[in-house]
Subunit: 213 residues, 2 copies
């Protein structure tokens, strides 16, 4: 399978992590996000929503990480949940992630880490920080005394929600404040196939790779 | 079926619209949102995410409108898409709605219409307005020369994305600017079962019903 993505995209990382954890053969098609590639006509032709990740599996072209994760879980039967009830719970957490968790964390990190301060809309960062904190409380409470989000095994819901929490740039989730989230991330990082996002896909931000040297 | 919701919730309206369009027998369990009911222990016991809508169908208790819409479409075979490819497309738009469309429109309307100005986080409104406008462009472009989001018939994707666009309070989507969205909303309002959200469920905002008299 071919994955369109780049290092900084936590949404692309969710899919890359799933592909590796499910032991699927895949290759990266790196997208030059910060050079504007997702706004190009060629990319919009592939995905009119103008977003990564896009997964290509033969004739099937999918976007939105939640759909891709659901597709991979259905296709392989892995990380899918073990009953119809569990599968609905997995889908529920995938939606909640897009709506309330990653949906706030992603823009918060983008504004603070990748947008020059003079272009940052005043007040947006504290607003998003408040929303991330409220979502962390829901997630941390759910994880108290529980190893995984749904049932007794990891599912694509876990692979989705953790997507942005590995990055060094500020994203609003301080692990030290949330013991349930902190321990769950340790369990996730111990799964076969986990690697740090910046080791899975090269970065797109200008000079990012040079800075590491 | 029993739906937990209230008039102001566009996410609850999505489900109410689907229940009516699918001709399902349902009743409302009104939630006193503005009196804090979704933060109560009893409500959190029903839904730890602390959100409406919640749908109860016998032993099945579901939250997140996207999951509920997927459940209703699967159960009835209506508004579901006509092939596996269409069903994945429906799910993709449901995710995009939660992530990029309603996920921005809902908070924008909440901040401007229901939060006193002194409590409104500075800068959050223009930030959200920008994100809504970018999403409108994607949606309007997709709807050009097309009647429904997926295939040739309405699906739960249409019922989802329109959820907040009926409200008189500011939500960032000006119909006059987006001809594709405007015509699509006319088609949606002509579907059997459509009613204005404030006619489907009573409001929760203090004094809202009295103001109408």
């Amino acid at each position: 399978m071919e994955l369109y993505g780049f290092g900084e995209s936590g949404n692309a990382f969710k899919v890359a992590f799933a592909l590796q954890a499910m032991d699927i053969d895949w290759r990266l098609r790196k997208v030059a996000f910060f050079a504007g590639e997702t706004r190009s006509a060629a990319f919009r032709n592939l995905n009119p929503m103008g977003e990564v990740p896009v997964l290509v599996d033969g004739d099937t072209v999918l976007s939105q990480s939640g759909v891709i994760l659901d597709y991979l879980a259905s296709k392989t039967g892995r990380f899918a949940g073990r009953s119809a009830t569990e599968r609905r719970e997995v889908l529920r957490w995938l939606f909640w992630d897009n709506h309330k968790f990653t949906g706030q964390i992603g823009p918060l990190r983008f504004l603070t880490a990748f947008l020059p301060e003079e272009k940052r809309p005043a007040g947006a960062v504290p607003f998003l920080e408040g929303r991330v904190k409220a979502a962390c409380k829901v997630l941390d409470t759910h994880l108290a005394g529980r190893e995984w989000l749904v049932g007794s095994a990891p599912t694509v819901a876990d692979l989705s929600l953790c997507g942005y929490l590995w990055y060094p740039e500020p994203h609003g989730v301080e692990r030290a404040l949330w013991p349930g989230i902190d321990a769950w991330l340790d369990r996730l990082a111990a799964l076969p196939g986990w690697q740090h996002p910046y080791d899975v896909m090269p970065r797109s931000f200008p000079g990012a790779d040079a800075r590491d040297k």
